[in-house]
Point group: C2
Chain length 120, copies 2
């Protein structure tokens, strides 16, 4: 189960930063992680729900969920025994993301109108 990662892990660099914002970015500093957390707040909890909602590749989703569990933001729990299946639930640490998420939501709502995809 050992994930071998390259030596130069850019996520870990930020985890040692003096600034709490930088340390927060060591968890959510990529395109998808925060959106997974958002989906959890919206009641989603299963792999395929995230995958469908976000359109992220299964590969990366798997990695991000592992990181979030490792970071203590999500918990991986079995929700079915006979076909053994797990889902992901916010921990207290994850739920404490609410204010930051609301801050980002408000900013996006005020300053980022929906840009149409570049379809002809």
């Amino acid at each position: 189960m050992e994930r071998s990662r390259p030596q130069t892990n850019r996520w870990d660099d930020l985890a040692a930063d003096w600034c709490p914002v930088a340390r927060a970015m060591s968890v959510i500093g990529d395109r998808w992680t925060l959106l997974i957390v958002r989906d959890c707040f919206l009641g989603k909890s299963r792999f395929d729900q995230f995958q469908t909602s976000l359109g992220v590749t299964r590969h990366i989703l798997s990695d991000r969920l592992k990181r979030l569990v490792e970071a203590g933001v999500l918990e991986r729990n079995p929700y079915s025994q006979k076909p053994l299946r797990y889902d992901y639930q916010l921990t207290d640490k994850g739920r404490d993301f609410a204010p930051a998420l609301v801050g980002l939501k408000d900013w996006g709502k005020r300053h980022m109108p929906i840009r149409k995809p570049a379809a002809g």
Copy 2:
């Protein structure tokens, strides 16, 4: 001056999302962008200041600053004429990031203790 970017631009995908958090991520959805904004709040404004503070490569810093200006979060202004030099200042849109940034700071402060780098 035309920056040619590949067709599959993941930043733009999020800009068309229904969710304001996702649209916010279309601007700050990477490791560095939000930290540049943070540095601006801390009074930094020049290329080399960001570079020294963040340790990001000049290549990427240059790209992120351009994106932030394009997105209307920062303004690029000349601060010296004879050696023509520019710096980067927060716009109103950028300053409106404060609540989200504070939310992230609080979360990081509460939940992310400084992790020592893996030095022997």
